[in-house]
Amino acid sequence: MEYEAIIGLEVHVELKTKSKIFCSCSTSFGAEPNTQVCPICLGLPGTLPVTNRQVVEFGIKTALALNCQVASYCKFDPKHYYYPDVPKNFQWSQFDMPIGSNGHLKINVDGEELVIGIARVHMEEDAGKLIHIDGPDGGYSLVDYNRTGVPLLEIVSEPDLRSPAQARAYMEKLRTILHYLDVSDCKMEEGSLRCDANVSVRPRGSSTYGTKIEVKNMNSFRSLQRALEYEIERQVNLLENGEQVQPATVAWDESRGVTTVMRVKGESSGYRCFPEPNLVPIEIDSAWIERVRQELPELPDARRQRLIDDYGLPLYDAEVITSSKELADYFDRTVALYPDAKTVSNWLMGDFSRLLNAHNLEPGQAPVPPQELAALLQLQQEGTISGKIAKQVLEEMFASGKGARQVVEEQGLIQISDAAALGQIVAEVLAANPKVVEDYRNGKTKALGFLVGQVMKATKGKANPGLVNKLLKEQL
């Protein structure tokens, strides 16, 4: 039987506000444990929360970017569960009146554009972190409350995703949008972007849903895709063997490449949510929404279209360039100085991206500013350097942070375009390779390439390749 997977994602995004959602503690990552805490985020008796307006602002911004309706009235509700990293044993979240609802985003998978529904976007506070210390008798646990009260947005998709690849594309697109909005660092490895998946399978064509499994602990796009692939296969195998899928929450084990059961889901009395009396409801008037809407940056889809319309870039190039806001910004700034957009795009997608990866840098951190890349392309276009040398120069620019012209001059890489000087070298190469010359004359046209290579070698790559070809043909 053929099966299809039904996947919905719950994504938690840590917002990059300066202070926590209900107190003034810092949200910065990596501080010594329990140094960014106060009576409020420790949940001490008698403390009261005060909502950080910036969180609401980021919530509106994100909801709008995800095409959601923004609630005109929203409130917080305590969500109760006993866990030691939640000092109050409840978390302030939004239960029945999320700040955003009924939205969507578009993804492209295998050339097909899909619209994925977004059920809701809501604000909540993050929990702390438990650190387990091994020891005799099973060891003990310590709690770090620095993260307690860091603002989160939870973005819940509709169960519209049908494959792990689609799920990954959704996550990537969501991250891109959040980057464009500048509301989060979106670092999966630091936990500022986290994702849980609900996945079930059913015979293709069936209209009812199968039993849902919640998958947690996927810390990268790759592990999201792998975990879903594994989980779907596991569920299909169960059904094929005539067994049933038991509702459960499972954790992805990256090193073993399997999911393991964290807890079996049974009857629950729920989270006992009700409107939090200590937090006054937030009224979001249309003027506020409109102001945020006016201030929205250009979003990835619009930007991609602009690159196609204004610069004639192919869809593929536009997609790759706009998948990162920093890369797209870099592109815009480079093209402003060097208008051959396709050449800029080729460089950005090719050597520039390769060097970024090699140096483990984001586009915004590149040691080569846009004006220097433009200068490099200019040198190439003028014929001052060859394309091959240009790659070499970019490499050096990344390594040293020096400008294009400086590298070219310091290393004497200016292209030799002097026909007399180059003619002399060509003659020497021909004299030194009589056999190859003979082969060429006997019709082996490939031999020309070898001779070009020899000239390049003799000139350390600086010879103007067009001129070399011309001179060789003349002298042969």
Partner: protein, 488 residues
């Protein structure tokens, strides 16, 4: 002259004219506490050294010629659910018996600023859950008018300390009547301000949608003074109103001619002690005599107030008290694992009345019960609010008995008889649900025990309540009576 018989404003005059020093006033209060508190048992914690240090600082400031406010140098005490930095704040619970807050409540900061002298922390029903102060995990407080009787609750220590002359004024907290009811039982003035009038920052929650801090005093003038010192917007409590605070003392005058007062008939129905009823009727006649127009009116949803109050308050409590788990503050009773530690801590840390309320509140919020209980209560709450709104379209204020009876005997309606105790909340909880200000003042005595008159006003009409109370007080002498606590 026995300083401890004075009101706070009378003492304030003596301090201002330097006839008495703050140290002398503090000494007098501490001597009084030592003389009577072994019987009254109002104090959970005494802060004698700190009190003298504060008194010396006030005296020094006065001798330097600094301008001091009306409360400077006057000894007072706080209900033990109001956080005091470096002084334990217990909620009269084993759970917090050794808990020392690292921060202080806004009301404490404001009183300190005003030069108040803190004598100590006062006994209460555990986590403010009770109406007799018998649910305190430490000991019951006694009514100074009859030591065999309860002082009321949950601010029983706060009311008893004022009545017994142990403090010139105190702060209590009121969720469903916890200031007004003990004020009535102990024959003092108690004010529950409008929800949002006084900051709750640093008040350990029972039910945050109703909790309010307010003063317990020997007369209405003191009540106005204390309210002025603590009221007003606080950026740490987003439920406080950003409204100007009037000069409540300046609003005190005796002219209440033409004021329209409604008398809701539901508060004079079955269950009201006949002698209490007669005393309250006479008090209403007194108001009419002073020129007020008193008319019978109706608050039709009154009978639903009590069950509604219980559902809302217990549900909120079950949420707020979830944090007492033994992990990072308060009592910890170890267990084999974290869950067992949570259970052991809560089993030993909470008394039976708190547990009863937390279980009921938890039940009311559970999936499947929410609509039938919590949500229903929230809707009835709106109806109760609308009853008052309609009444205040016609009347400037409402008047009722504060309690349907006088103080009862210890053990008579204790925590083994929750329904009997419920009667004590029935006259005060509707006001709490509606978030309105209400004041209880002594209006007579029945068999030697004080009877309280409850004045209820529209939101933020504290000045009007105080004015009417003042007019009544100036024409009666009940507030001058003091219990005969023989000094051993």
């Amino acid at each position: 002259m026995n300083l401890c018989e004075l009101t706070a404003h009378e003492l304030g005059e003596l301090l201002k004219s330097r006839q008495v020093s703050a140290v002398e006033a503090t000494e007098a209060a501490i001597n009084r506490i030592e003389a009577v508190d072994s019987r009254v048992q109002a104090f959970v914690t005494r802060t004698v050294e700190e009190a003298f240090a504060q008194a010396r600082a006030v005296d020094a400031a006065r001798s330097r010629g600094e301008t001091l406010g009306p409360l400077a140098g006057i000894p007072m005490a706080l209900k033990d659910n109001i956080c005091t930095v470096r002084i334990r704040t217990t909620c009269s619970s084993r759970m917090l018996a050794d808990w020392v807050p690292p921060y202080e409540a806004t009301v404490v900061s404001r009183l300190k600023e005003a030069g108040a002298i803190l004598l100590g922390k006062l006994n209460m029903d555990e986590f403010a859950m009770g109406a007799t102060t018998e649910t305190s995990a430490f000991f019951p407080t006694r009514n100074p008018w009859d030591l065999e009787r309860v002082p009321g609750g949950s601010s029983g220590g706060s009311a008893a300390a004022v009545a017994a002359g142990e403090a010139f004024y105190t702060l209590g907290s009121d969720t469903g009547g916890s200031i007004r009811q003990p004020a009535a039982f102990c024959g003092v003035v108690g004010l529950k301000p409008t929800y949002g009038r006084v900051s709750r920052h640093g008040l350990i929650a029972f039910a945050p949608s109703m909790d309010q801090i307010g003063p317990l005093t020997r007369d209405v003038t003191d009540c106005a003074l204390i309210l002025n010192a603590v009221a007003g917007h606080d950026s740490s409590d987003c439920t406080t109103a950003d409204l100007p605070v009037p000069d409540y003392r300046a609003a005190l005058n005796t002219d209440i001619k033409g004021l329209k007062i409604g008398v809701p008939r539901e508060y004079f129905a079955d269950g009201l002690d006949p002698e209490v009823a007669a005393i309250v009727r006479r008090a209403i006649d007194k108001l009419a005599e002073l020129g007020a127009i008193c008319e019978e009116t109706s608050l039709p949803h009154t009978e639903y107030a009590l069950p509604t109050y219980y559902l809302v308050a217990y549900a909120e409590a079950s949420s707020n008290l979830a944090r007492y788990d033994g992990v990072s503050f308060g009592l910890r009773v170890p267990g084999r694992d974290i869950e067992e530690m949570n259970i052991n801590t809560r089993t030993e840390g909470f008394g039976p009345e708190v547990k009863r309320r937390l279980m009921l509140g938890t039940y009311a919020l559970e999936a499947g019960n929410y609509e039938a209980f919590y949500l229903k209560a929230a809707k009835v709450r709106t109806l109760i609010r609308q009853d008052f709104e309609a009444a205040f379209n016609k009347y400037d204020l409402l008047v009722t008995p504060t309690e349907p009876m006088v103080a009862f005997r210890l053990g008579e309606k204790g925590n083994k008889k929750p329904l009997a105790m419920a009667a004590a909340d029935s006259y005060t909880s509707a006001v709490s649900l509606a978030g309105l200000p209400a004041l209880s003042l002594p209006c007579g005595f029945s068999q030697g025990l004080p009877v309280g008159l409850q004045l209820i006003g529209p939101s933020f009409a504290e000045a009007r309540l105080l004015q009417v109370a003042y007019a009544f007080e100036q024409n009666t002498e009940y507030h001058r009576r003091r219990p005969a606590l023989e000094v051993a």
